[in-house]
């Protein structure tokens, strides 16, 4: 930050000045905080969009309805504003981090050892030891105490005074870098995954069928077996699919997958998502030519008016119709009044709707398994019911980046928070009867830092056998371990 706030030279070109301004903007902590806060606001708006809160708001205050409708219509997380804020933050993190490196490196490797007497006198917290020892003896004792408490000690002799700078956990200041790098990597991982990966959300496979994965792979998947079990209350207890993965037509894997237990082959990972039922249907024309022969998956949709009736449809351009198939009510005792179709097991309700451009009306009928029914110049056959498994097939090349980012993020936070930088400045000067040591913690308004400082002071006190004169801010009476000594007049709290 210090570099960024350097004075602009009047001899600089407008371009240099513009770049400097942009650089300073991205280095600004205030701007970064505003960006994080704005991002939080967008996330809140997006979160509430996925909840019933806007709807309740519109119900309570009807004139807000148009606003709420726009709210629901706005996909915050895929909006340009959201992407722009993320990009801005990523740049700010990168620039800010680069800008902070020299200062932090300087503090770690070449800290200023000299401390002015004005600083010592003005500090709100300090401890002063008046001893009979020489300056060197006192410096030796002080250094030994600090080293015992794992401080790095740097000394500098200026005139008759010895200046001592001590710090602990100095490298922890670097923890901010992996943490912020991790945030950028998470974004990079997301972009890489979206750009170079693929995800088939609804990879439906009836038992016995094989389907190509596509997306530039030569993979195909066959569902060999599907098994599900339910609790007495009807909740799915477990379900699993036995699949075969073919690469270039050659079997390369035969695995059983279940939710939380996917299988990977090369770049593709196959996930068990859900389950459902389908019906094998055939459609022929008047001359017996087969226009459709396949499985219509029922369960991805529900029959209008009855959410317990699974339904599905398929477009058959060759026949000029859309065929909708509805299965029997899966919970007939739940809202039986909605079950208008009253289908029995082994029956399907079929509706043939002409594709756009035709004036013909829809054909509706109930068909039994194994039956064929002529309808509008076509013959529809219901061969058998089949089970299908809903899988997902995905490839995400961003995963390794995400894994690295996760380690960096948690590691960076742990280093930053659990190894806090502690610093103590001191000056040892010859006094009237011996040497005097005045120590000050660099812990302004840092309660823990001051507590640790007084622990060090207590250790030095027991080593020297001298009671220090302690100065501490008003209202900090809760440092109970501090030796009870007459305090100097308190400064500001």
């Amino acid at each position: 930050m210090t570099n960024a706030t350097a004075q602009l030279s009047p001899s600089r070109s407008p371009m240099e000045m513009a770049i400097d301004r942009v650089w300073r903007y991205f280095c600004s902590v205030r701007a970064a905080i505003a960006e994080i806060a704005f991002l939080a606001l967008l996330v809140l708006i997006g979160t509430l969009r996925g909840s019933s809160v806007p709807e309740s708001l519109a119900n309570g205050v009807p004139f807000l309805r148009p606003l709420v409708d726009r709210w629901y219509a706005w996909d915050v997380f895929r909006s340009p504003v959201f992407a722009a804020v993320l990009a801005l933050l990523a740049i700010a993190i990168a620039v800010c981090t680069v800008n902070r490196v020299p200062g932090i490196w300087q503090t770690i490797n070449h800290p200023r050892i000299r401390t002015s007497h004005g600083y010592l006198n003005g500090a709100d917290t300090s401890a002063t030891f008046n001893t009979n020892s020489t300056t060197d003896e006192l410096a030796g004792s002080y250094e030994a105490t600090l080293r015992e408490k794992r401080f790095r000690v740097l000394t500098e002799r200026i005139g008759t005074d010895t200046h001592v700078y001590a710090d602990k956990n100095r490298y922890a200041r670097m923890g901010t870098f992996p943490f912020h790098l991790a945030l950028i990597l998470l974004l990079v991982g997301g972009i890489v995954g979206a750009q170079y990966g693929f995800r088939e959300r609804e990879f439906i496979l009836p038992v016995g069928d094989t389907r190509a994965v596509g997306h530039g792979t030569d993979l195909s998947i066959e569902l060999v077996r599907f098994q599900d079990s339910y609790t007495p209350l009807g909740t799915a207890e477990e379900f699993e699919s036995e699949i075969i993965i073919y690469d270039g037509g050659e079997q390369v894997r035969r695995e059983t997958i279940s939710p939380n237990d996917p299988v990977s082959y090369r770049t593709a990972t196959v996930y068990q998502t859900s389950l459902g039922h389908g019906s094998n249907m055939r459609v022929t024309d008047d001359t017996g030519v087969e226009l459709y022969n396949g499985t219509v998956d029922v369960g991805l949709f529900n029959f209008a008016g009855n959410p317990d009736s699974p339904a599905g449809y398929v477009e058959i351009p060759a026949a000029g119709v859309t065929m909708t198939v509805v299965a029997p009510d899966i919970e007939p005792f739940n809202a039986p009044e909605l079950d208008t179709l009253q289908l029995k097991n082994g029956q399907m309700y079929v509706m043939l709707q002409p594709l756009a451009g035709s004036d013909a009306g829809p054909q509706e009928f109930v068909i039994d398994q194994g039956q064929s029914i002529p309808a509008g110049g076509l013959t529809v056959s219901f061969d058998r019911e089949v089970q299908w498994s809903l899988l997902q097939v995905a490839y995400n090349p961003g995963i390794p980046i995400f894994a690295i980012a996760s380690f960096l993020l948690i590691g960076g936070l742990a280093v930053t928070f659990y190894f806090p930088l502690r610093r103590i400045r001191a000056v040892i000067a010859p006094g009237p009867q011996g040497a005097t040591l005045t120590a000050v913690p660099l812990a302004k308004r840092d309660w823990s830092g001051k507590r640790e400082f007084f622990q060090t002071v207590a250790a030095l006190e027991s080593g020297l056998g001298v009671t220090p004169r302690v100065k501490k801010p008003a209202g900090s009476e809760d440092w109970e371990h501090v030796p009870a000594t007459p305090s100097a007049p308190s400064s500001t709290g």
């Binding site: 902590v29 205030r30 970064a32 905080i33 994080i36 806060a37 991002l39 939080a40 996330v43 809140l44 997006g46 979160t47 996925g50 909840s51 019933s52 809160v53 309740s56 997380f77 997301g190 995800r199 959300r201 609790t231 909740t235 799915a236 207890e237 477990e238 379900f239 279940s258 939710p259 939380n260 237990d261 996917p262 990972t269 996930y271 998502t273 997902q392 995905a394 995400n396 995963i399 995400f402 996760s406 993020l409 948690i410 936070l413 742990a414 928070f417 659990y418 308004r445 840092d446 309660w447 823990s448 001051k450 801010p473 209202g475 900090s476 009476e477 809760d478 109970e480 709290g493």
Partner: protein, 301 residues
């Protein structure tokens, strides 16, 4: 199994009572006593003027000690409740709102006691233990069918990662409860100059330290959740409302940390962010009541 479930519930009931008594003790200790002193003075005109002045005194120390002891009992019984239920279910009980809240009660109590010991101050208990007690009240109000131990639905059958993900969330929220209490006491102490409360610096530090534990834990929640989502849903981030509300909470605490460490914010402004942060925690915690989406496991949707 049924016996263990019942035993777990009795322990939970004992924990509720202990925490209620503990909260009352802590409040008595923290609120202190107010004594109104009256003084009558004669004026130069010969009339008398009576003035009154409120003086505040710390609460009885024994109430604080009693509060700590009862909080310890509350934590112990909550631990037993979790253990018995865990043995009965053969898993860590975290799968519905009853189990989650029960474990959360334990986490809040434990986290509070750790901070009490580390800082040697008991006044935080008036708020933190009250939150733990209110959590037990909430548990009592949940549908009774959630008290039964049910088998996990397939989506939740990923025990190690589920345990790590949800436990991290519970302990993150528990530490945020401590930071909330520190922030609230900070504001109280500052506004009413309540000298018997811990110093402003100490309260500020407690709030910060609690966030330095909670924030990495919340980060871990998001990461573990992403890993689990990757295995279960094929994608590590779905912009699901529960995910994004946790992200919102994370961002609020990120603002707190940046304003405090880089802008040097201390005191009331930081304390208000802690208040807001805990509101975000509650928003995420109770989100199952008004969120749709993939996290509809709590049994309360």
């Amino acid at each position: 199994m049924e016996t263990l479930v019942k035993l777990s519930f009795y322990c939970f009931a004992a924990s509720s009572v202990s925490l209620a008594a503990s909260a009352v003790s802590y409040i008595a200790f923290s609120v202190g006593r107010v004594r109104v002193r009256q003084a009558t003075m004669a004026t130069s005109t010969g009339s008398t003027v009576t003035t009154s002045r409120a003086e505040y005194f710390p609460g009885p120390a024994v109430a604080g000690r009693f509060g700590s002891m009862l909080a310890g009992f509350g934590a112990f019984f909550a631990l037993l409740a979790v253990l018995f239920r865990g043995i009965a279910a053969e898993r860590v009980p975290l799968s519905n709102m009853f189990e989650f809240s029960l474990t959360f009660t334990l986490a809040i109590s434990v986290m509070y006691l750790i901070f009490e010991r580390a800082y040697g101050t008991r006044q935080l208990g008036a708020i933190v233990v009250s939150i733990a007690f209110l959590m037990t009240v909430y548990i009592w109000m949940l549908p009774t069918n959630l008290r039964e131990v049910d088998p996990l639905i397939p989506a939740l059958q990923a025990r190690p990662i589920m345990t790590a993900h949800v436990s991290s969330a519970i302990f993150a929220y528990a530490t945020f409860a401590v930071s909330f209490a520190a922030g609230a006491l900070f504001l109280v102490r500052k506004k009413w100059n309540a000298r018997w409360l811990p110093s402003l610096e100490m309260l500020d530090d407690i709030g910060f330290r609690a966030v330095t534990i909670g924030f990495p834990l919340l980060s871990l929640v998001l990461i573990l959740g992403s890993i689990w989502a990757h295995d279960a849903w094929g994608v590590y981030w779905s912009w699901d409302p529960k995910e994004t509300s946790a992200l919102f909470t994370w961002l609020v605490y990120a603002v707190y940390l940046h304003t405090r460490t880089l802008r040097g914010w201390r005191g009331s402004r930081s304390a208000w962010i802690l208040m807001f942060g805990f509101a975000a925690v509650l928003f995420t915690y109770y989100g199952n009541y008004f969120f749709g989406g993939l996290h509809a496991y709590g049994g309360v949707n």
